[in-house]
C-alpha cells in the first residue's frame, strides 16, 4: 500500500500539458511564433537593411515589459525585464513608446467595450487613437502603467567592441542588481546588431607589447570573447538572446567580386553562402561572422523586403511595406509575410 502511494502520479501528461500551456503563453509574437523559443536559446535575425529587424526586437520588448494584468485590465504581457544592447546606436525610444501606447489603448479599449472585434479591425489600420475609449480614460492611469513598463526596459549604447565587451563583462553584476532592485528577472537580452563592428575589428591591430603568446585583438578573438561571455552569463541567468545581423554583402551583382576578393581570408572564418530563394526572388545572404558565433546561434530567421529592390525609381513611400520571414535554422520551408504599421507587426496572408 505504501508502495502504491509512493508511485501515485502527481498529474497526467494531459494535465501537465494544459498547465504548461496555460502558464507559459507563446513567448513571441509573429514572425517569431513558429518555433518554441525558450530561455538559453540564441536567435539571430538576419536581413538586409532596412528590413524591420529592430522593429521585431521592439515588438518582442513591448510584449515582454507589459504586465499580464493591471488594475483589472488584461494586457497579456510577460512582465519580464528586457536588456537592450544597442551596437548600431539607432534605437528610438519614441518608437517603443508609440507601440506601447497602442498596446495599452487596445487592451483598455477591448476590455471597456467588450468588443474586441472592432478594436482588432481598427488596430489593423493603426487608428486606435480615435477610438472612444481613449478619450475617456484618464491620462494619469496610462502614465503610471507606461512608467511601470518602461522601468523594465534597460538600455545601453556602445560605440566600439571594447565598450561592448566591457558591458558584457559587467553584465552579471547588473543582472543581479536588477533582480534585487526591480524584483523582476531579465528574460531577454537583445543585441542590435551583432555585426556592427565587423569591419573595424577586421582591421584592428594591437600594439606589439612583449610576449609572443599574447592574444591579439582581432575579429576572431573579440567574437570568441563575446560568445564566451554570453555563454557564461546564460549559465547563471537563463535568458533568450535575440541578436540582429545586417547582411553587409547583400548585393547579387557584387557576389562574384566578393568571392574573388575574400578567397584570401584566413581559414578561421568559414564562409558559407546560403542561397535563399523562392522562385524568381533570389537573394543571397553571406555569412560573415566567425564560425564561433555561427555555432553559438541556435535559431536563425531571415527577413527581407518582399520587393526585389528598394530602388530609387519605383519606391513608393505611401504603400505598406510587406516583408518576408523565413527560418533558416532549422529550415522550416515556410515563408511568412508580415507588414509593419504604426501599431506593430501584422501577419499578412
Amino acid at each position: 500500500m505504501a508502495v502504491r502511494e509512493w508511485i501515485k502520479t502527481d498529474e497526467t501528461a494531459e494535465d501537465l500539458l494544459s498547465r504548461v500551456l496555460r502558464e507559459r503563453p507563446p513567448l513571441l509574437l509573429p514572425p517569431l511564433h513558429r518555433l518554441p523559443l525558450r530561455a538559453g536559446n540564441v536567435v539571430e535575425v538576419v536581413g538586409p537593411s532596412p528590413c524591420a529587424k529592430t522593429q521585431i526586437l521592439i515588438q518582442v520588448a513591448v510584449n515582454s515589459i507589459l504586465p499580464k494584468e493591471w488594475k483589472g485590465v488584461y494586457y497579456g504581457g510577460l512582465e519580464h525585464s528586457v536588456m537592450f544592447i544597442d551596437l548600431d546606436c539607432r534605437f528610438d525610444i519614441l518608437r517603443l513608446l508609440q507601440l506601447l501606447k497602442h498596446r495599452i489603448a487596445n487592451a483598455y479599449g477591448s476590455t471597456c467595450l467588450g468588443s474586441s472585434k472592432e478594436v482588432k479591425q481598427d488596430q489593423r489600420d493603426g487608428k486606435v487613437w480615435r477610438f472612444g475609449a481613449k478619450e475617456e480614460s484618464d491620462t494619469g492611469y496610462e502614465e503610471d502603467l507606461i512608467e511601470i513598463c518602461l522601468r523594465r526596459f534597460l538600455y545601453i549604447r556602445c560605440y566600439d567592441s571594447y565598450e561592448f565587451l566591457a558591458t558584457l563583462k559587467t553584465l552579471h553584476d547588473k543582472l543581479q542588481w536588477s533582480r534585487e532592485e526591480l524584483g523582476t528577472s531579465v528574460h531577454f537580452l537583445m543585441i542590435d546588431s551583432i555585426g556592427a563592428y565587423y569591419w573595424v575589428d577586421r582591421a584592428s591591430t594591437s600594439l606589439p607589447l612583449g610576449a609572443k603568446d599574447r592574444k591579439t585583438l582581432s575579429l576572431q578573438s573579440v567574437t570568441e570573447a563575446v560568445v564566451n561571455e554570453i555563454r557564461n552569463i546564460l549559465l547563471v541567468h537563463p535568458m533568450l538572446v535575440l541578436a540582429t545581423k545586417a547582411t553587409i554583402f547583400g548585393d547579387k551583382c557584387a557576389t562574384n567580386d566578393i568571392k574573388r576578393k575574400f578567397s584570401k581570408w584566413s581559414s578561421q572564418d568559414t564562409l558559407d553562402q546560403s542561397m535563399v530563394g523562392s522562385g524568381s526572388e533570389n537573394l543571397s545572404h553571406r555569412e560573415y561572422m566567425p564560425s564561433v558565433w555561427q555555432s553559438f546561434v541556435t535559431y536563425r530567421i531571415f527577413v527581407r523586403p518582399s520587393f526585389k529592390q528598394l530602388s530609387a525609381a519605383n519606391y513608393d513611400v505611401t504603400c505598406e511595406q510587406v516583408y518576408l520571414a523565413e527560418w533558416l535554422l532549422p529550415s522550416l520551408g515556410i515563408t511568412d509575410k508580415f507588414a509593419v504599421t504604426d501599431a506593430g507587426i501584422f501577419m499578412v496572408t
Partner: protein
C-alpha cells in the same frame, strides 16, 4: 590602450607582482583583459601563493572595466531625454516645409541624416539652406565640412537675408553678421583629414560641454561620399574600417553632444542600370534617416524627395 604599467601610479594594487602574473597569461593592457576569460583567470589566481592580493587586483580591473562603458539607462530615463529634447526645441527646421514635415518637424538632435541623390539634385542647396536656417532661427552654431569646394557664402547670405522681415537696414545688418558668424566652414580633402577634424571637434565640444555653453547644433559634411569612395575597394578591410569608424564617430558626436549631423552621398549605377546610393551595404546601417533627392524633369526647376529609410 592603457598598459597595466601606467595604472600602477593610480592604483597601487596593480603592482609589479600583479603585472608579472598578467604578463604570464599574455595580458599587458586593460584591453587584453576584455578578450580574456576572467573566470578562468580567477581559477589560476587561486593556485598562486598570494591569491588574495591578486584577486584584489582583478577586482580593481573589473571596476575599471565598469567605467569603460556607458551607464545602463532604463526606459523612463530614455524617454525623459527624448521629451526634453522636444521641449527645448532641439528640433531644427531645415528651412523647407516639405522636407521638415518629412522628417517629423525637421532635424532632430542625435540623428545622422543622409541626403542622397544624383548630381545636381539639390543636395548642397539643402545643406546650405539648413545651415542658414539653423544659424538664424535657432541661433545655433553650424560646422560645415566642405570636401568639394561647394560651400558658397553668397548663397548662404541669400538664404539668410531672404526670409528676414526686419525693415530697419542697420538692425538687419547686425543680425546678419551675427548669423553669419555662427557658421564656420572647414575644407577637408581626405578621410584622414576628416577624422582629424572630427576628433578635434569632439575635444572642443567636450570642453564647451564642461564649460556649460553649448553652441554647435548642426554638423554638415558635403559630401561625405567623395571622401570615402576612393578608399573603398582594393580587397583589404581597411577602407571599410575607416568608413565605419567615421560613421560611428559621427553617431557618437550626434548622441553625446546633441548635434544633428547632415551628410550627403551620391548615386552610382546599381543592378540593372538603376541608380542606387553609393557606399554600399555596410554604410546602410550608419545613418538614421536617408532622404533621396531627385530632380523633377517635368518642372524646369522642381525637385522631389522621398524617404529611403526611417
Amino acid at each position: 590602450m592603457a598598459p597595466l604599467k601606467s595604472l600602477e601610479r593610480d592604483y597601487p594594487i596593480i603592482d609589479s607582482e600583479f603585472q608579472h602574473f598578467c604578463a604570464f597569461h599574455g595580458i599587458f593592457t586593460v584591453e587584453d583583459f576584455l578578450i580574456h576569460d576572467l573566470n578562468a583567470l580567477v581559477m589560476f589566481v587561486w593556485k598562486q601563493p598570494n591569491s588574495e592580493r591578486l584577486k584584489q587586483g582583478i577586482d580593481q580591473i573589473c571596476f575599471l572595466l565598469e567605467s569603460m562603458h556607458r551607464p545602463w539607462l532604463n526606459g523612463v530615463a530614455l524617454l525623459k531625454d527624448a521629451q526634453q529634447n522636444k521641449q527645448n526645441k532641439h528640433v531644427f527646421s531645415i528651412g523647407n516645409e516639405g522636407i521638415d514635415s518629412f522628417l517629423h518637424d525637421g532635424l532632430r538632435e542625435g540623428r545622422v541624416i543622409e541626403l542622397v541623390g544624383p548630381s545636381s539634385s539639390g543636395k548642397t542647396q539643402v545643406c546650405l539652406r539648413a545651415a542658414a536656417s539653423v544659424a538664424k532661427l535657432c541661433e545655433g552654431g553650424v560646422v560645415f565640412l566642405d570636401t568639394g569646394n561647394s560651400f558658397s557664402v553668397h548663397r548662404i547670405a541669400c538664404f539668410v537675408s531672404q526670409n528676414s522681415n526686419s525693415t530697419s537696414i542697420e538692425g538687419s545688418h547686425e543680425t546678419f553678421e551675427k548669423v553669419m558668424s555662427n557658421i564656420s566652414c572647414c575644407r577637408v580633402y581626405d578621410i584622414f583629414g576628416l577624422l582629424d577634424v572630427l576628433h578635434q571637434l569632439e575635444c572642443k565640444l567636450k570642453c564647451e560641454m564642461q564649460a556649460g555653453d553649448h553652441l554647435v547644433r548642426l554638423l554638415i559634411i558635403d559630401s561625405l561620399s567623395s571622401l570615402i569612395t576612393p578608399i573603398l575597394g582594393g580587397g583589404g578591410p581597411n577602407g571599410h574600417a575607416l568608413m565605419i569608424s567615421a560613421g560611428f564617430l559621427l553617431k557618437k558626436l550626434a548622441h553625446e553632444y546633441s548635434l544633428c549631423v547632415l551628410v550627403t552621398n551620391h548615386m552610382v549605377g546599381g543592378e540593372g542600370g538603376l541608380p542606387k546610393p553609393a557606399l554600399g551595404e555596410s554604410w546602410k546601417g550608419v545613418p538614421h534617416v536617408r532622404l533621396l533627392l531627385s530632380r523633377d524633369h517635368r518642372a524646369s526647376n522642381g525637385y522631389s524627395f522621398s524617404m529611403l529609410k526611417y
